[in-house]
Point group: C2
Chain length 177, copies 2
Amino acid sequence: MTVFDLDDAVAVLGRTPAMLSAFLGGLPDRWTAATEGEGTWSPLDVVGHLVHGERTDWIPRARHILAGDPRPFEKFDREARLTESRGRRLGELLDTFARLRRESLATLAGFALTGADLERRGVHPELGEVTLGQLLATWVVHDLDHIGQVARTMAKVYGTTVGPWSAYLSILRDRRQ
Amino acid sequence: MTVFDLDDAVAVLGRTPAMLSAFLGGLPDRWTAATEGEGTWSPLDVVGHLVHGERTDWIPRARHILAGDPRPFEKFDREARLTESRGRRLGELLDTFARLRRESLATLAGFALTGADLERRGVHPELGEVTLGQLLATWVVHDLDHIGQVARTMAKVYGTTVGPWSAYLSILRDRRQ
């Protein structure tokens, strides 16, 4: 099992907002409003989902574990991105995400977590017992999963436009959502 | 078939260097040197590959088509990333990529392409007849494919570290390379 190192995790988490702003900020709607089809998310929806996660998922669950609360976590509403992203402009969502992520990482630093803290346990409503270290590693992989989703969704806008090159571009055949 | 719009394509191509710098610049080697296993590429290798593409693939092939050269394109050496990335630091490769991409897009703008130009044809050594518009769309999807690859490769560093959450993180089970 890979050892979880908090500094390594924070290095990725801290870069996500600037990366998404450089990737998506000011891009035409053709890219940012595109989806992979019915029931799938646009890059705008993904940013709304990340905003919602900062508010309700990562730090609240870390607090829950650190408080020693034996009850399961609140469920994370994956569809709440719609509330976050509906009628809001991408630039505004990107700015909100950057601010909330900064606040989350300041809170995380304030916890001054020890190795023993990372082994502390909480109860996930569906997955059962999890550790704080696993929660923080999941936060990182969750960012990366959605970055991959944004790239894949944008690539598929040109699914047929690339002509015969489609054969070489595996991303065009990767999973939806 | 999706209509190819040059401005839309350039909007993505122009953002890739700043995005990769925000994503990877200064990250610990644990992330940037990670691979998905034997025979797969690290984020550092991917940037080396993108540098090589700027030098030998996209603009040279566009020139080839615009010159009306009836011979097949030179083959693109996918393994040349090793030459580009070996012994070079990531920050240096990212800077080189940013400079070369700026030059590529300045050259592209200088072509002052018309809709008719985008329909001009060349011969790919394996795929046969392709258009300039298809080449430029492929350049965009190729960027996005490698961005997805970087995210996937980094995610897999925490493949087991996330514990039970692995069940929710599809990226951990996505294709290699």
